[in-house]
């Protein structure tokens, strides 16, 4: 116990740096996957069949295979098999590859949520807009979008909370996120070795961050309660 108290400042400092990388991956994924998922949802419901088939195929592959395998293939395949390491070396390269994998993976899940949300808006809303001389774009942005957002907040919240924890999968390509940072003290780092408690302690970070997210998303849900 005494030892842990002694190690605490060093470990916390390392874990903080790791968690910063976790947060970076989390936000980059959201920023990328929110719009890309919407584009995929519009594409998969498009009347242009080849487009909708291609997108449905991508969604099937991405949702049907583990994210961990996707990370490995996306990171290593270009360099090891094609001899063209497009991601570049070092932590920057790993982050780029991880971001790409996570955005692709989460876009697929988000697109299905969007699709459900869009299809859940009654046809009458669009027809009312059309009869009032609105363009399709106006109808989407001024009428449907907020109704879609209201519908998708609960399932989105679920995915967002899962994403926080999924970022730990980037450990598999040695991205220096918080799990990596915690594990370092098992192998030996900054004079501490054989310590497993830092790895266990990472759970506290996830728990607190998800607690904050749960409160914020709950507030958003409440805020959209003003209409039905």
């Amino acid at each position: 116990m005494e030892q842990i108290v002694e190690q605490m400042p060093i470990v916390i400092h390392s874990l903080n740096i790791g968690f910063l990388q976790t947060l970076k991956l989390f936000f980059v994924t959201l920023i990328g996957a929110f719009p890309l998922g919407l584009l995929m949802a519009l594409g998969s419901t498009s009347r242009f069949k080849p487009l909708s088939w291609v997108i449905k195929l991508v969604i099937w592959i991405i949702r049907g295979t583990p994210l961990m395998i996707q990370l490995l293939i996306i990171y290593y395949f270009p360099g090891l098999v094609l001899h063209n390491p497009i991601w570049g070396g070092g932590e920057g390269g790993r982050f780029l590859a991880a971001s790409f994998s996570f955005i692709l993976n989460y876009s697929c899940y988000f697109s299905e949520i969007y699709r459900g949300g869009i299809q859940g808006v009654p046809v009458g809303q669009e027809e009312a807009g059309l009869v009032l001389g609105m363009t399709k774009t106006q109808i989407f942005f001024r009428i449907k979008l907020l109704q879609v957002i209201k519908r998708i907040v609960p399932p989105m919240s679920n995915e967002i909370i899962t994403l926080v924890k999924d970022t730990s999968l980037a450990r598999i390509i040695a991205l220096q996120e918080i799990i990596w940072a915690g594990q370092a003290f098992m192998k030996g780092s900054q004079g501490i070795s054989g310590a497993i408690w830092p790895l266990f302690f990472t759970a506290v970070y996830y728990l607190i961050f998800n607690g904050i997210l749960t409160i914020l998303l709950g507030r958003l849900e409440k805020k959209l309660d003003y209409f039905r």
């Binding site: 009458g124 009869v131 009032l132 001389g133 609105m134 109704q147 209409f227 039905r228």
Partner: protein
């Protein structure tokens, strides 16, 4: 002079003919009631007039301007349809108000969006918004909703929602206002308040096409009654004549169900 001329409109869905050669005309300031059993094509006819469906054949003219002619592809361009819709207003059976906007915003929204297309919009923005707001408030007052302007649709009764929807349609000053069974989703108590405002509009010589199952109202409000059956206009004429002395056996049969209560 006829404000609306409909000639030989036909429409099929998946080889089922819903409208089979519909022709009628309507004079400015007149009201026509369309009655008939469910599935006779009344709603489809209104949807064709509002360009929510494209007729397979036929001609639609408003104020002598050909809005649609199945023989003339230049009248069917997607880009021009939006503006053509503005000749008509449509009040839906299920209101279709925009839930995230207040009653007032529902009435103002379309007009505000259209105002952005005006050349003088940028220089007179504030003024234009003011005008739109005053007009919308006036319409809601006319509908008896002056105390409900800032309520959201879910806070309103069905009858109030439908009156907002009527104000919303009127805001764009359509040449012809269409009603698709405006009281079918309402209980008898609320039906009365909606019929009352429609009657008031008729008294102000608003040109209207009303699809309804309220027979007494159809007779009372209209200058002309159309009885539709199986995609055809079976009988058409003065309300008194159609209701009291229907020529067709099918019309008698249909109306008898209502008089028997």
């Amino acid at each position: 002079m006829a404000i609306l001329e409909v000639e030989h409109i036909c429409k099929s869905f998946n080889r089922t003919e819903i409208l089979k050669d519909i022709s009628f005309s309507l004079d400015k300031g007149q009201v026509v009631s369309i009655i008939g059993s469910s599935g006779s094509g009344k709603t489809t006819l209104l949807r064709c007039l509002n360009f929510l469906e494209t007729p397979d054949r036929g001609v639609i003219r408003v104020n002598n301007e050909t809005l649609f002619d199945s023989a003339d592809p230049s009248t069917q361009r997607e880009s021009t349809i939006r503006k053509k819709r503005l000749h008509f207003g449509l009040v839906f059976q299920s209101f279709n108000l925009f839930p995230q906007y207040t009653a007032l915003e529902n009435v103002m929204l379309a007009k505000e969006l259209l105002a952005k297309e005006r050349p003088d919009y940028k220089s007179r923005k504030k003024e234009i918004h003011g005008e739109i707001r005053i007009q919308a408030e006036g319409l809601l007052k006319q509908m008896g909703l002056e105390k409900r302007m800032n309520n959201y649709p879910h806070q309103l009764s069905g009858g109030q929602c439908q009156r907002v929807a009527i104000a919303r349609a009127l805001a764009l000053q359509p040449d012809i206002l269409c009603f698709d069974e405006p009281t079918s989703a309402l209980d008898p108590e609320l039906t009365g308040e909606v019929l009352k405002v429609i009657k008031e509009l008729a008294d102000q010589n608003t040109t209207m096409i009303i699809v309804t199952h309220e027979m007494a109202f159809a007779r009372d409000v209209a200058n002309q009654v159309i009885f539709m059956d199986d995609g055809y206009i079976l009988e058409q004429g003065d309300p008194k004549q159609v209701f009291e002395n229907p020529r067709e056996e099918r019309t008698k049969q249909f109306l008898s169900r209502f008089t028997q209560g």
